[in-house]
Structure formats: structure tokens, C-alpha cells
């Protein structure tokens, strides 16, 4: 969920060996089946195209709150029963919410697929959202926010960076929601969210494993087919206003070491055939940080020792805009300013001198190998399909994306670095570490804003 997490995996596709079948039910539910008979197991994932970016001011976090409420029962399956039945079937289950979507999953022995489909279809339209359960669960979500964000200095830094980099786009709001919105949220907010977005025509069902696609389609029709399509509201199109100059923020939180994040607004993939910058940015991230001897770690951690850790990240597929980001922790004796200067120097070297063929070959070799390794995880393969479908592209685009990624040239990497890594697109966030004793705030410190 951290926005700068590597998304290499998600843009990598598998070509010929995949047995992927696709069908859309009359109520609009898209069903995608991937046959993989390596083990007698199956994974079901339902992806709703509703994430925190669809929320309105004042009710941030409701997408994620609803995700929690989805385990609270229906008329036919009382509170707690969903999890009990999946557990009794030997299954594992959970769910996750992102900016762009909310997804639910179960992993089971293949003989238990029908049970999972029946239960998942039931809660797509029969959720029982009681005031009483909401009142308890909202407290759980607030505990989750405290744990994930409020008490984690780096997560806080990310949160405030997003809120600064984006001015209009709802990516400025955290997925888990602002605490005040959680405190003021009502069961009606959750009901409204459920009624608005939980409909078969706003979902993708992905099933992967030791299954027969025809049988899965029949089961999908049987359990999901009877759910009526919903009337989905028109989606707002957001166009983040152009940034007019560098932005800098400081976040104070309990920690020992400062931390630096630099994030540049960057294009995301829309036209998989014609766009080139997103592929070039992915390769750029690989050249900077694709292995332990890639530029950033080699130069700044190992040789100059100005950082104790460093990373570059770029996710090229999302419903909204994206960023190319760098983050680093300065080594003892190095100021945040000096570290930022050292990182800028590395970026400038690419703008000025480009990258080598050897570096490109290395990135390609890693991408090729990752394609094979990916096959060892059924869950991940299903994830990749669900994610790409949910952000508005198609699983059919995956092989094209892989080909395009492998075709990126050194000139393109240099050009994209020049075009995108500009100060006017940049937000810099610095963690100013505070001592643990809250009554003695540290004066000055190693971090400064400009």
C-alpha cells in the first residue's frame, strides 16, 4: 500500500503457457479463469472497482471500513459464519483495499470452490450492516490506523507527502482515512457505499487453480448470475492541476534517524501500445535500484556511504496519476540536504550521460526471470489479472506490456529522466525525528525545510 512500493511484478505478464478464459455474465460481472493444475488448490478473488479514490470529503476511509464490514454477515450467513465456514473448509481468506479497488479472496482445496463462490456471491448483495456491528468495527479500524500510520513515522511521512503532492486528486487522502473522518463515520455512510458500488457490473471475479473453466463459468452463473446489476454513478474525472514549483514538507515524529522521500509526478499507462514513458520509467527504476549493485545502492550506500538505505520506485498502472519516487535514510554524519544533493547528482548523471546497454540487459534479464518465478505463486498470478482489470486495462494487455518493457532503449530512459525528473514536478518530504520523551521536543535536529 505504500505508494512507492515496487510494482515490477504487476507489469510483467505471462504469454503462451497461460490458459486464461474470460466471460461476462448478463449482469455485467466479468469472470476470468486461469487454469493451473500444478497443485490441487484454487484461489477466488473478487475485485470491486471502488477504492479510496472514489470517496468524498468527510468520509475518507469508508471503502476500507466497508471491507471490514463485509465479514459481518448476511441474512443467510450470520455474523462470524463466513469466516467459520471458510476455515472449516480448510481455507484462508482476507481482503484488501487500495486507492483504486477493494478485493476479497479465499484460497482452498479445489473441492471447496463452490462453497467459496456461494458465500462470496451472497455478500455481494445481501450484506447485513447493523449499527451495532458497525460501532464495534469502526473502533477496530481506528486501532488499525493507529498501528499502521499514527505510530509509524515512515508511514506518516508517506501520508503527508501524498496529501501535499496531490492537490485535487483524491489520492491526497489516505486509504485508511483521516482519524477525524473515522470518528465521525456512521453505519449509514457504510451502507451508502455498499449500495453504490457493490454490484456485479462493478466487479471482476478471478479464479485460478486446478479447475475447469467451463465448470467455473457454470458455477459463476449459478451463484453470481442471479444478482441484479446496479446503477453505477458516473465517475468523476480528476485532472490534477499542474504543479507550479517544488514543494517541501517536514514531518515531526518519534524516531532516531531522519528520512527523505522525493516524489515526482509521472505519467501512468493508458495506451499500452502507444505510451512509452511508463515503460521507460520502469526501466529507470530498475537501473537505479533493481539489484544491490544498481546505481543508488552502489554509489550512495556502498561507496560514498551517505545513506544507510535507499530505494527508487514507480508503479506504472493505476486508475489515477502516479509518481516516480526515491527514498533514503542518511548515514550518520550526513545531513538530509547532502543526501538530497547526492541523489540529485545520480539523477543528473542519467539525464546527462544516459544509461549503458549493460544496465539495460541486466534489467531485461531480471524481468525475464521474474516471469518464470511468478508461476510459482498462483495467488500472485490471479492478483495480476485482477489488478490490471480493475485499473481500466485488460489482462490481454499484459503480454503487450511485457514486450514493450523489454524493448525500452537507452535513449528512452535518458529522455524520460530529462522530461519527468524536474523540480517543478517534485515534492520533497523529510522526517524530522523527535526524541521519545514527548515533553522534551528536540530543537533543530538534522532535518530542515527550505
Amino acid at each position: 500500500m505504500r505508494f512507492y512500493a515496487f510494482c515490477w511484478g504487476l507489469l510483467i505478464a505471462i504469454g503462451a503457457q497461460a490458459e486464461v478464459f474470460e466471460q461476462t455474465l448478463s449482469n455485467g460481472l466479468k469472470v476470468i479463469v486461469k487454469e493451473d493444475r500444478r497443485a490441487p488448490v484454487v484461489v477466488q478473488q473478487v475485485w470491486y472497482r471502488a477504492g479510496s479514490m472514489d470517496e468524498k470529503t468527510g468520509v475518507t476511509g469508508v471503502a476500507h471500513v466497508l471491507e471490514h464490514m463485509m465479514f459481518k454477515g448476511t441474512k443467510a450467513v450470520p455474523m462470524g459464519e463466513f469466516s467459520r465456514r471458510i476455515a472449516a473448509a480448510g481455507g484462508r481468506e482476507n481482503a484488501f483495499t487500495s486507492y483504486d479497488y477493494t478485493a476479497y479472496f479465499q484460497q482452498l482445496h479445489k473441492s471447496q470452490l463452490e462453497l467459496a463462490m456461494k458465500l462470496e456471491a451472497d455478500r455481494m448483495h445481501n450484506l447485513n450492516l447493523s449499527d451495532q456491528e458497525f460501532a464495534k468495527e469502526i473502533r477496530v479500524v481506528m486501532e488499525e490506523r493507529r498501528w499502521r500510520t499514527d505510530d509509524d513515522a515512515h508511514a506518516l511521512l508517506d501520508e503527508r507527502l501524498m496529501a501535499t503532492a496531490y492537490q485535487e486528486h483524491p489520492y491526497r487522502n489516505p486509504i485508511v482515512g483521516w482519524m477525524n473522518d473515522l470518528k465521525n463515520m456512521t453505519a449509514d455512510d457504510a451502507r451508502h457505499w455498499y449500495q453504490t458500488w457493490y454490484a456485479p457490473n462493478n466487479a471482476t471475479l478471478v479464479i485460478a487453480g486446478d479447475v475447469d473453466a467451463k465448470q467455473v463459468f457454470a458455477l459463476a452463473k449459478k451463484y453470481y448470475g442471479r444478482i441484479r446489476a446496479g446503477k453505477l454513478p458516473a465517475r468523476k474525472h480528476y485532472e490534477e492541476p499542474a504543479q507550479l514549483g517544488i514543494k517541501r514538507i517536514v514531518v515531526k515524529a518519534p524516531a532516531e534517524l531522519p528520512h527523505l522521500v522525493m516524489a515526482y509526478h509521472a505519467p501512468t499507462l493508458r495506451d499500452v501500445e502507444k505510451d512509452w514513458q511508463p515503460y521507460a520509467l520502469s526501466v529507470l527504476a530498475g537501473v537505479l535500484d533493481g539489484n544491490d549493485s544498481a546505481r543508488l545502492n552502489k554509489s550512495l550506500v556502498r561507496e560514498r556511504q551517505v545513506a544507510t538505505s535507499i530505494g527508487a520506485g514507480y508503479a506504472n498502472t493505476s486508475r489515477g496519476p502516479t509518481m516516480f519516487s526515491l527514498e533514503a535514510t542518511p548515514a550518520a554524519g550526513t545531513s538530509v540536504e547532502a543526501l538530497e544533493a547526492a541523489i540529485r547528482e545520480q539523477l543528473q548523471m542519467i539525464v546527462r550521460d544516459g544509461v549503458s546497454e549493460e544496465e539495460l540487459r541486466r534489467v531485461r534479464a531480471q524481468v525475464t526471470a521474474a516471469e518464470v518465478y511468478k508461476l510459482d505463486s498462483l495467488f500472485y498470478q490471479a492478483m495480476q489479472i485482477g489488478q490490471i482489470e480493475s485499473i481500466g486495462l485488460s489482462q490481454h494487455d499484459l503480454p503487450v506490456m511485457l514486450k514493450k518493457l523489454q524493448a525500452v532503449t537507452a535513449e528512452q530512459v535518458q529522455a524520460v529522466a530529462r522530461d519527468i525528473l524536474r523540480d517543478d514536478q517534485l515534492t520533497v518530504a523529510v522526517l524530522d525525528p523527535q526524541p521519545l520523551a514527548a515533553d522534551k521536543p528536540q530543537q533543530g535536529g538534522h532535518a530542515h525545510a527550505h
Binding site: 500444478r38 497443485a39 488448490v41 465479514f71 462470524g80 469466516s83 467459520r84 476455515a87 472449516a88 473448509a89 480448510g90 481455507g91 484462508r92 481468506e93 482476507n94 484460497q107 482445496h109 471447496q112 460501532a135 468495527e137 469502526i138 473502533r139 477496530v140 481506528m142 486501532e143 488499525e144 493507529r146 498501528w147 499514527d150 505510530d151 518519534p254 524516531a255 532516531e256 534517524l257 539489484n291 544491490d292 549493485s293 552502489k298 550506500v301 556502498r302 544507510t308 538505505s309 548515514a331 550518520a332 540487459r361 541486466r362 534479464a365 531480471q366 525475464t368 526471470a369 521474474a370 518464470v372 518465478y373 508461476l375 510459482d376 505463486s377 498462483l378 521519545l436 520523551a437 514527548a438
Partner: protein, 437 residues
């Protein structure tokens, strides 16, 4: 959701009848290393793991941190290659070296394509990393500085502070409770690493696990290639016994975080403990079973007091911890503690029901296929079976052992092994802390 449970997964076996378990081939290499191999040609890749009894518990009391740094420096310079050569050459063939390290075990893993050109390069690098590490002076100095920085950072985090205090409270002076400090790290020298490597990375103690797309003949050659030049040291001395707790203990450490981190526990069980299965199944019911455990139900579902609450046994060479954990906002720490303690008390005093046992068995046995559905997971089983000297039939025996557990066995084992009044409690959080209520 809960990283601690990952190693637990390895214990959860099954088999018999319905599901074919992987056919494990086992032999001893000429080097003396024990080898565990599953041949599987479904995917064009090979996974390898080599483990040594060289975890942090093998440190000397006056040289804490040496085991960890020795492990950490293995792939940062080896015969004929500096750290960048290693990383670059691996990346060039798309191979990945990773490592894992805990109190018992130091392991290095390799994932590579099985095509010969790539595989040969990757295995050659792994062979040198394992057998001819250089521990370069300048790399050690840098890694010490990085480790010191990360330790200082960790000292501000409630998770780390609670784990550290808990380890000390549960294990006292036993190495399972050690956490190296900045001053320990600062005095470590290159000689220490070389000596530790010579004494703890012997061929006879090595366990090689291989999973994937090579033949038996190739696997034999690979195992020998990876271990033939390891030190010919004698076997590593066994770890000291763990003493049980005699009385309850509570420690509160102040911290500015909005949530308190609570850990409760005591020494638990070793890998070979005869009570292992009843305690494992019982713990599923108490706090191991995800959304359906008693702790989850009482603390989260009924009262909304925490996002995560769990319990587990961490079976180790010597008894590892039985641990309960949760995080809750400072204002309700005492209430949450009361709920957890009552849940544990009731569990031990009144035991489990037939219905709970049935549900637990359904999940553990029914979910077994998920535990061996990838090369990675099977590789991990091979390492654990080899390292802890479990029978080759371990996966097949597991279901039978789970099936044989009954209510009486669980209740009896918990009453004998878990005394709710003699557990350590550590609470990190709350500015008014320090006092014992």
C-alpha cells in the same frame, strides 16, 4: 498479517491418501552435508537452500552479534568477487540470493532459472558465497555502521522494544532472549567473523535443500559443489536448556505512541516435544486460527479493542516462546489485558469443546494442500525437516498426528505446560507507565 506465523506454517503438515505429498529424496554428500531433494520439472527453475546451526543463539555471551554479521556478510565478497560482482552477476542471469536468520538457523537461499547457462553461473556464485566468503574489512566497517544506525532507530519503535523486553523476561540469560546492543556491535572484529565461520559453517552440519528442475544426478553434483570446501570443523555444541518461569512478571515501558504493544508469554516447546500436536491444535483454537480464534473473538469481534491479536508456539531447537500479542490504544490497555487474561485462564481451566476441536482439525487437515502448493513452500519444508532432523515421512505423518489429537490431550497438555499465573507480560506505551498495577 502476522509474520511470526510464517514459520509455523512449516509445521502444519498432513497427507495420506487424498493428497500426494512430494517425494523427498535424501542422501549424504561426500562432504558430509545432508541433502534433501524433490525433483520437479513443472517449472524451469531451481530453488536451493543451505542451512547451518549458526543462528544468534550460537553467539558467545561476550560476542553478541557475531553470528548475525557473519551471516550478513556472506554475499558481500567471496573468492574472486567483490560485493558488486556478486550482485551484478546474479542480476545478469536473473538469479536471486536471499537469506534467513533466526536464533537457531542461518540459511542462504538461491532461486535461479534451471537452464544450464544461468544455473551454472548462479550456483558458482552461491558455492563461493557459502564456502569462501572474504568478510572484507571495509565492508564490515560499513555494515557495522548500518547495523548500529538501524539498532538506534529500532530502539525508538514499540514493536522492537516490546520484543526485546519480552525476550529477556521469558528467557532470562538464555541466548534465545539476547538482543545485541550498539556496544556489542561496535567491538566486533573481522577475526570474530572468520572464527565463527570456521567453527559454525562446517560441512557436516550443513543441510542442503533442493527443489525443482534438475535430475537426481545433477542434484548430487550441486550438493557436493556447494559443500565440499566448507570448513571441516567438528559438530557445533548444542544450545543450553531453557528454564521455565516460576512466577508472573509485568513490565511497563513508557512510549509516546498512541497504542500500547502488549506481549504475554513463557517458554513453550521444542521441535521434538511430545506435546507438540495437542498444543498446536489447542493453540489454533486459542489464538492461532485467524479470524475464528477465541482471542480474536473476545478482543476484536466482541469488543473492537484491537486490529490484531494472536497466540503461537514457536518450536525451536530448545523450547521457544509461547507468545500472545496485541496492540490497543493506551486508554484501554488494562481492560484489554483483563479480557486476554480471562480468555487464557478459561482456556486452560475449562479446556476446549468437541465442536472447537472438530473445526480446528477441519481447517488444519483440509488446508494442508495450501501448504505445499509451491516450490518455495516445499523448499522450506525440506530445510526444516533436514535442519531439525524430522522423519522423511513428516508430511505424511502429520495428518495422522493431528487426527489423533482429542479434547482430553489438548486440555491435559495446556494444563501441564501453560500456567497463566506464571507468564511474563510486557507493555510498551502510555506516558504514565513504569508503575505496575
Amino acid at each position: 498479517m502476522r509474520t511470526k506465523l510464517i514459520s509455523f506454517v512449516l509445521l502444519c503438515g498432513f497427507a495420506a491418501g487424498a493428497l500426494a505429498t512430494p517425494q523427498i529424496q535424501h542422501w549424504q554428500a561426500a562432504s558430509g552435508a545432508r541433502v534433501y531433494f524433490v525433483e520437479d520439472h513443472n517449472l524451469p527453475m531451481l530453488d536451493v537452500a543451505v542451512s547451518f546451526p549458526a543462528g544468534s543463539a550460537y553467539d558467545k555471551a561476550d560476542k553478541k552479534g557475531v553470528a548475525g554479521l557473519t551471516h550478513g556478510l556472506l554475499d558481500l565478497g567471496a573468492q574472486g568477487m567483490n560485493e558488486d560482482d556478486i550482485a551484478r552477476k546474479l542480476a545478469d542471469v536473473g538469479a536471486r540470493i536471499a537469506s534467513s536468520f533466526d536464533a537457531d538457523r542461518s540459511a542462504v537461499t538461491l532461486r535461479t532459472l534451471s537452464s544450464q547457462a544461468e544455473r551454472d553461473v548462479a550456483l558458482d556464485i552461491l558455492a563461493r558465497v557459502l564456502q569462501q566468503p572474504l568478510f572484507p574489512q571495509e565492508v564490515l566497517a560499513r555494515e557495522k555502521a548500518r547495523l548500529v544506525a538501524s539498532l538506534r532507530e529500532a530502539e525508538t519503535k514499540p514493536e522492537f522494544l516490546s520484543e526485546k523486553a519480552f525476550g529477556k523476561a521469558v528467557f532470562g540469560t538464555h541466548p534465545y532472549g539476547w538482543q545485541s546492543e550498539v556496544k556489542d556491535i561496535e567491538k566486533i572484529q573481522r577475526d570474530d567473523l572468520q572464527a565463527f565461520f570456521r567453527s559454525h559453517y562446517g560441512a557436516k552440519d550443513a543441510v542442503v535443500a533442493l527443489m525443482g528442475d534438475v535430475s537426481r544426478q545433477q542434484a548430487e553434483a550441486i550438493a557436493q559443489q556447494l559443500t565440499a570446501q566448507l570448513p571441516q570443523s567438528g559438530s557445533v555444541a548444542s544450545l543450553p536448556a531453557v528454564a521455565g518461569l516460576q512466577a508472573g512478571y509485568e513490565l511497563r515501558i513508557p512510549h509516546p505512541a498512541s497504542q500500547s504493544h502488549i506481549l504475554i508469554g513463557a517458554p513453550g516447546i521444542a521441535r521434538n516435544d511430545p506435546d507438540y500436536f495437542p498444543l498446536y491444535v489447542g493453540n489454533y483454537i486459542l489464538g492461532g486460527g485467524g479470524f475464528v480464534s477465541r482471542l480474536m473473538n473476545e478482543v476484536r469481534e466482541k469488543r473492537g479493542m484491537a486490529y490484531s491479536v494472536y497466540s503461537y508456539f514457536m518450536p525451536m531447537q530448545q523450547p521457544g516462546a509461547f507468545q500472545i500479542g496485541l496492540q490497543t490504544k493506551n486508554e484501554q490497555v488494562d481492560e484489554a489485558l483483563q479480557v486476554v487474561r480471562k480468555t487464557v485462564h478459561d482456556f486452560v481451566a475449562k479446556g476446549v469443546t468437541e465442536a472447537e476441536l472438530r473445526a480446528a482439525k477441519q481447517n488444519i487437515i483440509g488446508g494442508f494442500p495450501l501448504r505445499i502448493d509451491s516450490n518455495r513452500k516445499i523448499l522450506d519444508y525440506l530445510s526444516v525437516i533436514g535442519f531439525y532432523d524430522l522423519p522423511l515421512t513428516y508430511l505424511d505423518d502429520f495428518q495422522i498426528s493431528i487426527e489423533q489429537v482429542d479434547v482430553r490431550a489438548i486440555n491435559d497438555a495446556f494444563r501441564r505446560r501453560i500456567d497463566p499465573d506464571a507468564m511474563a507480560t510486557v507493555i510498551v506505551g502510555g506516558q504514565a507507565a513504569g508503575e505496575t498495577k
